[in-house]
Symmetry: C2
Subunit: 244 residues, 2 copies
DNA sequence: TCTCTGCGTATAACGCTGTTATTGCCTATA
DNA sequence: TATAGGCAATAACAGCGTTATACGCAGAGA
């Protein structure tokens, strides 16, 4: 007795169970990793963080719980991979702003464009954004210092845009770009989080607040108020500006 | 058979178990609610959100899991109570700013003082703050619209401070105070969250960014740069200002 | 004083979670 | 062909929130 050898399956009649057509298809096997990641991203966007569980993912892709641990070590490890891919998408958006505008574009407008894609990403992938920048843990995963430094490195783009604004005579030439870019980062993050949490109430839309923040940022940095407003409107994209 | 009547306790020798000195002491019984809340707040601040569980709380206060459900309905219900008390502490801080300064105080300084207590609260109770304003769920609890409106109502204080700034000739008289206060809200929230998440890196401290944000806010609102800097320094408290 | 009604509680269980030790298959190597 | 090793399925463990059940005790009514 007690022979675990033939752990008789309760229902091996399930057809394509294991020893049927492709018992260990290499493509399907290697695809488990990919399928788990895709399913995790799908569940995250469609049903929220609370629905993300190992058992649910492995059931969806037809694997056992071990798949999570052989491929990712743990659930936080899987989430980490999802976050890495999400961050790659974020960086892609940010990096595409300046090439789309051309090297001679209005730098204040470029700054506004960077902030626009920032807000767009936060809106498009709120769960990923919340984990990456909001510090909200997900299935036990929390950011490491390395993650944070990677995330903080994208402020290089608005940093350089600020320098270009100063060089173009729009901003004060003695501006502390390092401080200013951190102020801008805080503003963008705060707006994104508040909008996501439903805290932008009353007769004001997040885009109104965004336009106001950017205009005031440029004005405080030394730009002419009217010119700043025009550049911001242009950078935020046609029709995205507030009524005024 | 099957008499669940005398479900013999495994170890009734535990002394003050039930039928000993105070079997149903009304004070202790009514105190279970309070003790659960205090223990929850303690665990939250000392060990973080991940350590907050019903079983752990009831064990700490010597009750059974049912205590959570008779007193709070559910774990989210208990967390809700913790959050309500946390928000009361936040409001107390905010409301104390103007009385401490007097009705004739520099309104820009008062605005800075409000932002200071905001940041202080976020730093003092990061977990509570993250749930209240960051939208980060805790043990299944999430903010309701009613909670958000209650939270958003405290922006009344900076709103009125902005109006006073305009009345005192420091800010433009045609300033859109509703928009401006939302911009300020976003800035304060973003800074608090970024600082908490460890995203204020490099040679800049959160207080530097705070001072910069407030000064720029006042300048964009129409205040004189030097005067704004002085008021902000004063409002942030002695010694809290940046080096420059 | 006795009885009854009802609230609050303890127990035990259900289904869920992440995680892991064990076992065995299958593939790729010597 | 024989062998070594990675990958996966099973089943289990501890913990989670939640709940049905039964019971003890307190206060109200007779």
């Amino acid at each position: 007795m007690m022979l675990p050898v033939s752990t008789d399956h309760p229902e091996p009649a399930s057809g394509e169970r294991r020893n049927s057509a492709t018992p260990r298809d290499p493509a399907a096997s290697a695809g488990i990793r990919r399928r788990l990641l895709d399913e995790a991203a799908r569940v995250l966007v469609e049903e929220g963080p609370a629905a993300l569980s190992a058992r649910r993912l492995v059931k969806a892709v037809g694997a056992s719980t071990m798949a999570v641990y052989t491929h990712f070590g743990s659930m936080p490890g899987l989430v980490r991979e999802v976050m890495r891919e999400g961050f790659a998408r974020f960086r892609t958006r940010v990096e595409a702003v300046r090439p789309a505008l051309g090297p001679d574009a209005d730098p204040v407008s470029e700054l506004a464009g960077l902030c626009r894609v920032y807000q767009e990403f936060a809106r498009a992938e709120p769960e990923v954004y919340a984990v990456l920048f909001g510090g909200s843990p997900l299935a036990g995963f929390e950011l490491t210092d390395e993650d944070r430094q990677m995330g903080a490195r994208v402020i290089r783009f608005p940093f350089e845009a600020i320098l270009r604004c100063a060089a173009a005579g729009r901003f004060r030439t003695d501006i502390d770009a390092g401080l200013a870019v951190r102020q801008l980062f805080a503003q963008m993050h705060g707006l994104a989080q508040l909008a996501r949490a439903g805290y932008i109430l009353g007769d004001y839309r997040p885009d109104d607040v965004l336009a106001g923040l950017l205009r005031d940022f440029a004005v405080a940095a030394g730009d002419d108020p009217d010119r700043a407003a025009r550049s911001v409107r242009s950078g935020l994209g046609q029709g995205a500006g507030p009524g005024a």
